[in-house]
């Protein structure tokens, strides 16, 4: 299994390392695979400070040794003095060098190349030359005019300039890597989570209990004050690990059977389905125009969308984030406030409970259905046959099961892919079916009613917007509806191995009282005086 540090490395940087491994010279491969592995480790771990300094010393020696206008090009690429023996040979007459700045000399000894200044000495080991050369190769490919800059800034200068230019080089590398590596902060957090998981027994994926324990154990770590931050990082980490595993398996082209031992096929498709929901949701915000849902309604479901990326593995965490996460935010706000009033009740207990959160989710589901019904009317008014597809999703709430199945059978018999191509003709047929089938007429009337009552932007003035906007919005509303239903059902099943069926309200009470104890204890430790 590859390390978590490999997460987020750009395809282009990985391709560069691959290209370096394949680079050829006159005598075969220019760099040993191990050399490039080491270089990629230095770069990906952002551990290039020492390497930059070493490179600047080497470049100083090369450009000052012969004062050739193409010294670097000749040394690293034309003459390829990048093996220990070639490196030693290139500097074998260095003690006779005429052009070196005063108070400095270079010479080869058993260690490698020694660069002597008045008060200090720097040694470049001959065995490091290949690594330094590959490093320069990578930098020259991406930092343009680097060779000119190095020659101009290091020719005829002293040791201070070498150190100064090493710092400049590090900044250039940092800027270049911004587009290719995750931020240092994200890398640090992933490493912290990885170290924490390695200490856990049994090892394995995060579950709700582990998320809480991770948050508790990270009490003194920057960035983990809030439970929601810990949860979000855990989700990012798990997704990162998953994608890393998939990339790794794809790269090593395991057979499907072998692959199935590591990640079951079901898991992959579920993961893909969840990521698609999240991705689609981000592309078309439902709270923009046309406005399908209010920002408050979106906020309510956001923790569930985040957790949906990991499917059923964290059924409780989204509820905890919604209820106790909100409580913690209020506590933090109160503790920061300069005029703390006595709001004991507000502090000692969360305003929301799992029961109220459940009721809000139920209301959201109703709002989703009503908006979908409005979309049916808009699409119908725009003479789009897609109104039937959207209608299908809300029909079960509008008519009884027998009517529903009869209507579906009717559509299946009358609408084929072939007939759907003649949209206009089919739409004329639809109007005729409405006259023939009162049920159908009833649901379209309900849809028009829902549209009339919908005062959100984009529904009174629906003719201003494109049909696709309503179609995409409807698709996302359906995704959200599925997601909310799933969030409720997994929440009920999270109450443990019980033989009897448990109602959602019972689940709310059981889970809430248990979680209230855990969070009250932890929040007391974290926000002393505020609770």
């Amino acid at each position: 299994m590859p390390s978590i540090i490999s997460v987020g490395i750009s395809e282009s940087l990985l391709a560069d390392f691959e290209a370096l491994r394949d680079t050829s010279s006159v005598s075969g491969k220019k760099y040993h695979t191990k050399t490039i592995d080491r270089l990629s480790q230095y770069i990906c771990c952002r551990n290039y400070a020492k390497l930059s300094l070493e490179l600047c010393y080497l470049v100083w020696a090369v450009v000052n040794y012969k004062r050739d206008s193409a010294a670097l090009l000749n040394f690293f690429w034309i003459d390829e003095a990048i093996t220990p023996s070639a490196f030693r040979k290139a500097f074998e007459h260095s003690h006779q060098a005429e052009w070196l700045p005063s108070d400095s000399k270079i010479y080869i000894d058993e260690m490698g190349l020694c660069i002597q200044f008045k008060y200090s000495k720097f040694v470049i080991s001959a065995t490091r030359i290949s690594l330094l050369s590959a490093f320069l190769e990578l930098l020259t490919t991406h930092i343009h005019h680097l060779l000119d800059e190095l020659e101009a800034n290091l020719m005829g200068t002293d040791e201070k300039s070498i150190k100064q230019h090493a710092n400049t080089l590090q900044k250039q590398i940092y800027d270049w890597l911004k587009a290719h590596l995750p931020s240092a902060k994200v890398q640090q957090r992933f490493r912290h989570i990885e170290q924490w998981t390695q200490k856990q027994a049994p090892a394995g994926k995060f579950d709700d209990h582990k998320v809480i324990r991770f948050w508790q154990d990270s009490r003194d770590i920057d960035g983990y004050v809030k439970y929601t931050s810990a949860l979000e990082d855990v989700i990012d980490y798990e997704l990162a690990k998953k994608s890393l595993l998939q990339a790794h398996e794809a790269q090593h082209a395991l057979s499907l059977d072998e692959y199935a031992q590591i990640v079951s096929q079901d898991e992959i498709s579920l993961y893909e389905s969840a990521s698609n929901i999240f991705e689609a949701f981000e592309k078309t915000p439902l709270s923009s125009t046309p406005k399908f849902l209010s920002s408050k309604q979106i906020g309510l479901v956001l923790p569930h969308i985040t957790v949906a990326n990991l499917n059923d593995s964290l059924p409780l965490s989204a509820w905890r984030a919604s209820v106790f996460g909100q409580w913690q935010s209020q506590l933090i706000q109160l503790s920061r406030s300069t005029q703390i009033q006595d709001k004991t009740h507000e502090r000692s207990h969360p305003i929301e409970s799992y029961e109220t959160h459940y009721q809000q989710l139920v209301s959201l589901k109703k709002a989703i259905k009503l908006t979908l019904l409005s979309c049916v009317a808009v699409l119908y008014n725009k003479k789009s046959l897609a109104c039937l597809s959207v209608l299908d999703w809300v029909l079960q709430d509008l008519i009884d099961a027998a009517q529903l199945s009869a209507l579906r059978l009717f559509f299946q018999a009358n609408i084929t892919e072939e007939s759907a191509k003649g949209t206009n003709e089919l739409f004329v047929m639809l109007k005729r079916w409405q006259l023939e089938k009162p049920v159908l007429n009833k649901v379209f009337n309900l849809a028009q009613d829902a549209l009339r009552k919908n005062n959100k932007q984009g529904f009174k003035d629906w003719h201003k917007y494109d049909e696709d906007a309503y179609l995409e919005g409807s698709q996302q509303l359906v995704n959200l509806d599925v997601l909310v239903t799933k969030a409720i059902s997994t929440f009920v099943s999270s109450v443990g191995e019980t033989t009897k069926e448990i109602s959602i309200l019972e689940a709310c009470v059981v889970n809430f009282s248990a979680d209230l104890c855990i969070f009250t204890e932890e929040l007391k430790l974290r926000h002393r005086g505020a609770i």
Partner: protein
């Protein structure tokens, strides 16, 4: 649960998806083929090799990519300037004569003549002045740079410091070679 989600999705928007799928597919095919073409990045080492050993097949393929890249071309020209033994700059505009049939520098002399009995061909004669023994053995290359695009004429065999090539007058190389604005680098 997964199955119910999938079937719901399939049921929903089936008609709309069918029409969109085709255009997406076409777009994906184009993107994949473009990605495949340029999957391997060009490193600085490739650019140096392209400039130093332009007669190799890999270098010719790389030169096509360099000519299309605004990132690699400056690097290539930088290398060319460093490795060139001599450079013949763009020629001063010579009244109505736009074709430079003779180019001279301190290191080489280049003459382009019509081939006798065949108006469609031109003979390119290169004379190296003070050529080294290495050049005589490994040959030399004329890198022609016009409008930030480069093409190369390779003279792999030299006798008495002279080499000759025949070019079709319709060829791109001939057009570039006789253009006043062409920079010619000898390596």
């Amino acid at each position: 649960m997964n199955q119910s989600i999938t079937s719901a999705h399939e049921q929903l928007f089936a008609i709309a998806k069918a029409t969109r799928k085709l255009s997406e597919q076409a777009h994906n095919e184009v993107t994949t083929s473009v990605n495949k073409q340029h999957k391997k990045p060009l490193l600085f080492n490739d650019i140096v090799k392209t400039a130093c050993l332009p007669h190799l097949a890999a270098s010719k393929a790389n030169l096509v990519r360099i000519n299309k890249s605004s990132i690699h071309m400056p690097q290539y020209l930088w290398v060319l300037n460093k490795i060139s033994l001599s450079i013949s700059d763009a020629q001063a505009a010579a009244s109505s004569v736009v074709e430079a049939l003779v180019r001279q520098t301190d290191k080489f002399e280049l003459r382009v003549r019509d081939v006798e009995h065949d108006d469609s061909l031109a003979s390119v004669n290169l004379l190296l002045k003070n050529a080294s023994s290495t050049q005589t053995q490994v040959g030399c290359h004329l890198h022609m740079v016009l409008n930030n695009k480069c093409s190369v004429l390779s003279f792999m065999t030299l006798q008495d410091n002279r080499a000759e090539l025949t070019l079709a007058k319709t060829s791109q190389e001939y057009g570039v070679l006789i253009n006043d604005d062409t920079f010619i680098h000898l390596s």
